[in-house]
């Protein structure tokens, strides 16, 4: 049994704070949680000591006495434009004050809540998922992105200056869930409102439980550095309604000015900047680092899965994902004669000929073959007896590979993937997986099948095929 831990949490009555406390009290090695917030706590627990405290208080450190860790969540999220000076004093000043106080109080671990918004909404983001080394430059005209970026940079420097303290920064996407987020209520109606006229960028939604789990993992592993925390497969807001079994209710962009008025009149309490997020450039991130280093395996791995879970609609394809995925590819092949690939991919694929069988075992077994010929590629039902190779695996293994949780080399070595026939043809599975995960950036001839597959799988994956 490891040493009992004492954890301080700021912003403990906030949206994530409430979920965070529920997660921390479950951890057997944590024997005490000091919960700080300006507001009274939402619930109580024997392990939790709630204090009304302000992160701007020069004496805030007295609450950290005896604590070995700090999870810093306190931040103005929704009403920030109402009083910009107060917002800055809490978000920037409060963060610096609380973290310095925690280090003075002798904590050895700090987990800071940054955000994907710290990257900022920029046109360059469209070239592919952002990894943790992307520049931090929150947009100046949006207080949330600006203050998240400022604190993100400051906390990174703090970590570098204090090598004896494990300082991690978690950058979650938008997260939703039944406990923390009251804003889900409109989702229970039949109509789902969204603002039209914008770029409708793909947007990650992560489940609040999965975000809290990531914070707990970073804390318990004493992780260092930045981690993106977001689901795979972000969806444009216009596609959310279908995933939740609702009808989309488009609201013309002009209505935003009404929202502005309503906010000023204090009829609504969400800064209109938030409504305009759907009109900005996308922030799509890769969470591979969290999956690999923190071993973060979200229970709801995709944005669609989160939305369906919140709407109480389980994924129809969850138990037969490969049938849906490959069935869709086979249907496209049948209708079009081959799968759509661009000219460059066609050139690269010219070098490949023959077919490779793919067999998925498990509760819903299925068999397919992939045929390459003269730069064309197609997926067909059933086994091709003259195929150059046959690869078989459990359906679950395939999705773990796509998820990045399991590496291809690992699956090969542990016999989770079985190959018969020619080695390089059976490598097609590695190519599918590699392509899915790296389609955006791959170069070179060896990666050609991976790239092509990546494009196909991403375009026609199970999430999309059931939601469109």
């Amino acid at each position: 049994m490891p040493e009992p831990r004492r954890v301080a949490v700021t912003g403990a009555a906030g949206r994530l704070g409430r979920v965070m406390l529920d997660r921390l009290v479950l951890a057997p090695e944590i024997d005490r949680v000091v919960a700080l917030d300006l507001r009274p706590p939402a619930a109580s627990h024997a392990k939790v000591e709630s204090v009304i405290a302000d992160v701007r208080d020069p004496e805030v450190g007295r609450h950290f006495a005896g604590c070995d860790s700090l999870i810093h969540l306190a931040f103005v999220v929704e009403r920030g434009s109402r009083d910009p000076r107060r917002t800055d004093s809490i978000n920037v000043g409060g963060t610096e004050n609380a973290l310095r106080a925690a280090i003075d109080a002798g904590v050895d671990t700090i987990v800071h809540a940054s955000s994907v918004a710290a990257y900022g909404f920029h046109p360059e983001n469209q070239s592919g998922p952002l990894t943790e080394d992307a520049p931090i430059r929150g947009n100046e005209d949006f207080y949330y992105a600006r203050t998240k970026a400022a604190t993100d940079r400051w906390v990174t420097e703090l970590g570098a200056a204090h090598p004896d303290v494990a300082v991690s920064l978690l950058r979650p996407s938008i997260f939703l869930g039944p406990r923390g987020n009251g804003r889900l209520r409109p989702f229970h109606g039949r109509l789902f409102p969204y603002v039209t006229g914008g770029s409708d960028p793909p947007t990650h939604v992560t489940h609040e439980d999965d975000v809290a789990e990531a914070f707990y993992l970073a804390l318990s592993q004493r992780a260092r550095g930045a981690f993106n925390i977001a689901t795979g497969d972000p969806l444009p807001v216009s596609a959310w309604a279908e995933n939740m079994g609702m009808r989309p209710m488009p609201i013309p962009a002009g209505a935003l000015s009404l929202a502005e008025l309503a906010y000023r009149a204090r009829l609504i309490d969400v800064s209109p900047e938030w409504l305009r997020v759907g009109r900005r450039y996308p922030i799509v991130v890769s969470s591979a680092r969290a999956r690999r280093q923190l071993r973060w395996h979200p229970r709801y791995p995709t944005t669609g899965a989160v939305l369906r879970a919140l709407a109480g609609r389980p994924h129809a394809a969850a138990s037969r994902g490969t049938k849906i995925l490959f069935g869709t590819l086979a249907t496209i092949t049948r209708v079009r004669g081959s799968l759509p690939v661009d000219e460059r991919a066609r050139q690269e694929l010219r070098a490949f000929g023959g077919s490779a069988n793919l067999m998925f075992t498990g509760a819903h077994p299925s068999e397919w073959h992939v045929r390459f010929s003269g730069g064309r590629v197609g997926v067909y039902r059933g086994i091709d007896p003259s195929a150059r190779s046959t690869t078989s695996m459990k359906e679950e293994v395939f999705f773990r590979l796509l998820d990045g949780e399991l590496s291809y080399a690992h699956a090969n070595m542990t016999g989770k993937i079985r190959h018969h026939g020619e080695g390089n043809m059976s490598m097609i599975v590695g190519a599918i997986v590699g392509g899915f995960r790296q389609a955006a950036s791959a170069e070179g001839r060896a990666a050609a099948p991976a790239r092509v597959w990546g494009r196909l799988v991403m375009r026609n994956g199970p999430e999309r095929s059931t939601s469109r």
Binding site: S407, A409, H410, M413, G415, K416, E422, G423, N424, A447
Partner: protein, 370 residues
């Protein structure tokens, strides 16, 4: 069957001191390998493949090794021959010098590099690398054999020059080339040079690749150098008396090797800094159970030689049945501690190698004049 060692000089999360230590550890390992009768030390040439391979000056390492050893051969696996990496005249001179100083113990492999990191760092025209490799291969053996060398090709127009010194092996050190795809194994066979196969595959696949190579090399008739009919494989190897310990460390090392390689060669990226998404940890116990059991499965590929001596002998015989001439063990991987490499060298050398006969080939005869 011959048994050799392959050195990438891997190191997980290097520091300046640990990198320095790595080089000295490798020398210690090679000295032991020489005493135990290993056949050859093959050293790679890579540039900037941080963590995956810190062996950027193999000619220096191999000269040092040659001075510290008696019998083991010293092999370049491989020299990058496109001229932005190494001018062909410089290669010929260095190999000949090493051949003299080592007493005719040099094996010379050649290749063109395929990681973007080094291709672009040396500002290569990637589309010309293959042609540059072939031209160097056409030039260097001439330099070793001709008193006065003169050449007019696609990339070079060399006026008459006396390339000196000349190697002691006659007519020259045995020549090899890297290959992995079946087509490239055949292409190397058609050139009539030894194949260094860096790929994996199941037994049938490997067997067919060897057969195709043999058919090609049989018909090859190289005009300017001596034919070398030889097929070698490079499996990750760790052989310890305790089977589970061998697998715990060996599988972790093999994963590091495979995933680091994948990052530099198949991701389409040029990573800078420590490699992300690389397995550096031990397998979970249940995965380790699976991996250990899978070694003996009918359809398990002949890839890693990991386990106790009995398991290692079994996997080696599968390479032997496929017709492989030489196993170049990759024992030094990024996450295997030096002490375990030493123990593995000894265990493998004493309890695996003696069970296999080492036949004579052209390369041996070349090394042993008279």
């Amino acid at each position: 069957m011959k048994f050799s060692l392959f050195y990438e000089m891997q190191i997980s999360h290097p520091t300046r001191p640990s990198e320095t230590q790595l080089f000295h550890d490798c020398v210690t390992q090679v000295e032991l390998a020489d005493q135990l009768g290993y056949h050859c030390i093959w050293e790679v040439e890579h540039h900037g493949l941080f963590e995956y391979s810190h062996s950027s000056a193999p000619e220096v390492f191999l000269s040092f090794v040659a001075a510290r050893t008696k019998n083991v051969r010293v092999g370049h696996g491989i020299t990058l021959t496109p001229h932005r990496y190494n001018h062909p005249i410089r290669i010929a001179e260095r190999i000949a010098t090493l051949d003299i100083l080592s007493g005719g113990r040099v094996n010379w492999g050649s290749g063109k590099s395929s990681s973007l990191t080094e291709q672009l760092a040396f500002e290569n025209d990637v589309s010309q690398l293959h042609a540059q490799w072939l031209e160097a291969l056409d030039m260097i053996p001439r330099m070793w054999q001709q008193d006065v060398f003169q050449y007019k090709g696609t990339f070079f127009d060399v006026p008459p020059i006396q390339v000196i010194p000349k190697p002691v092996q006659q007519p020259h050190p045995p020549i090899f080339a890297a290959c992995s795809k079946p087509e490239s194994a055949v292409a190397v066979g058609q050139l009539g040079i030894g194949a260094l196969n860096f790929a994996i595959g199941n037994d049938d696949y490997l067997g067919r690749k060897v057969d195709d190579y043999r058919a090609a090399v049989r018909d090859a008739n190289p005009a300017i150098y001596q034919k070398n009919d030889h097929f070698a494989c490079t499996p990750v190897t760790l052989c310890l008396p305790d089977d589970r310990k061998a697998c715990r460390y060996g599988m972790r090392g093999a994963l590091f090797f495979a995933e680091a390689l994948g990052t530099y060669y198949f991701s389409g990226k040029r990573p800078i800094g420590p490699l992300e998404e690389i397995n550096r940890e031990f397998m979970r116990d249940d995965d380790l159970d699976d991996a250990m059991a899978f070694r003996g499965a009918d359809d398990a590929p002949a890839m890693n030689i990991i386990g106790d001596p009995a398991h290692c002998r079994e996997i080696v015989s599968r390479f032997e049945r496929a017709g492989v001439d030489e196993i170049i063990c990759v024992m030094q991987t990024g996450t295997v501690p030096h002490e375990l490499v030493m123990e593995s060298l000894r265990t493998f050398g004493e309890q695996v190698i003696p069970h296999f006969s080492t036949d004579t080939t052209m390369e041996r005869r070349a090394a042993d004049p008279g």
